[in-house]
């Protein structure tokens, strides 16, 4: 449960074992926090294009919950991208001539990196690959989705729990 991760993180960072949560200035119980988290992570209607994982923004002392658009750290995206591509190349017969098919188009490895990195910054983190039969050169088909497990996204650092400690305008 996401709330468990938040509470463990608060305990670790602030040494507070029973945090109290506020939404829009109103104190809320655990059930209401869970409902809010469910809405945030299931919501995909804002701006109608992408399904957005949201980040929570929690203030120290009486923690105020707030959601943000996806914005995973670039270094984490790069690490995840490198390890995914390493694993794809290890588990296939790819070589320097390998081309990658994503959707309708074909890409070189460098182009694929650019394509996947941009997609990961948007909140898509699950890369899938399979080899296509080809008579001319090794071809790997790639797809990327946001269907990843939220727990892994948090523990991998892709979806960091962020805190703001100043009390900016009492929001």
């Amino acid at each position: 449960m996401i709330l468990d991760y938040i509470e463990i993180d608060i305990q670790k960072k602030f040494n507070i074992s029973s945090p109290e949560f506020y939404l829009q200035g109103e104190k809320v119980n655990r059930k209401q926090v869970i409902q809010w988290i469910d809405i945030i992570f299931d919501e995909d209607e804002h701006y109608g294009i992408y399904r957005w994982p949201y980040y929570r923004h929690i203030k120290k002392h009486n923690f105020s919950l707030k959601s943000f658009f996806a914005g995973p750290p670039s270094n984490i995206c790069l690490d995840m991208l490198n390890s995914s591509l390493d694993s794809i190349q290890k588990n296939s017969s790819s070589d320097n001539n390998t081309i990658f098919k994503a959707g309708f188009f074909y890409y070189t490895e460098n182009e694929l990196r650019k394509l996947l990195f941009n997609s990961m910054k948007m909140g898509y983190s699950d890369i899938l690959a399979h080899e296509l039969p080809s008579t001319t050169q090794p071809t790997i088909e790639i797809s990327i989705s946001d269907g990843g497990c939220l727990h892994h996204k948090i523990t991998d650092g892709y979806m960091p729990l962020t805190y703001k400690e100043d009390n900016e305008h009492n929001i």
Partner: protein, 171 residues
């Protein structure tokens, strides 16, 4: 006129200016196509925009990439919008599509993410409310036309002129 049609005509003009090439041939996979054939194909494949253009020996290879408007231009436009708001008066807070309240700094960061990730770049103040000595701006961000985006330099064409000796489209 469809989005891809507008996009391709802007590209054709750009190629004419840059390479003095009035009848460019485009390469999609291993096929050589004129502009109207590309438009028909991309309309069928539901491809709207964001294509990297690689000038090869005898044509322009088209590939899809997610939108990536230049960050500095996005930031300048967002700064200009915030500068246009009244300087004096109560503390300003912002709502962007949800009920959550953001400080000016947070709102700038959220709007930048919308610009970069959705390609929506037209900021509109839907409503202002004075509440508890705070001035709350309800904001939404909308899609701008391809032509305006191009004028605003949020949309540009990327060329890679490296000769692709080994380019072999998927079999």
């Amino acid at each position: 006129m469809s989005t891809i049609s507008k996009w391709m005509h802007l590209l054709k003009n750009d190629i004419q200016q840059k390479y003095n090439d009035a009848q460019p041939l485009f390469i999609v996979h291993d096929k050589y196509l004129y502009i109207n054939e590309v438009i028909r194909l991309f309309e069928k494949e539901n491809i709207h925009h964001s294509i990297l253009y690689k000038k090869s020996f005898d044509g322009y290879i088209l590939k899809y990439f997610p939108p990536s408007p230049p960050v500095n231009i996005c930031q300048n436009e967002i700064d200009l919008f915030f500068h246009s708001l009244p300087k004096k008066g109560p503390v300003k807070l912002f709502q962007i599509s949800t009920n959550e309240l953001y400080s000016e700094k947070e709102a700038k960061s959220e709007i930048l993410k919308i610009f970069l990730l959705t390609y929506y770049t037209k900021i509109v103040v839907d409503k202002t409310i004075i509440k508890d000595d705070k001035n709350i701006y309800k904001i939404s961000v909308h899609e701008d036309s391809i032509e305006n985006m191009f004028e605003r330099k949020l949309l540009y064409f990327e060329y890679n002129e490296k000769m692709l000796n080994n380019y072999q489209p998927g079999a």
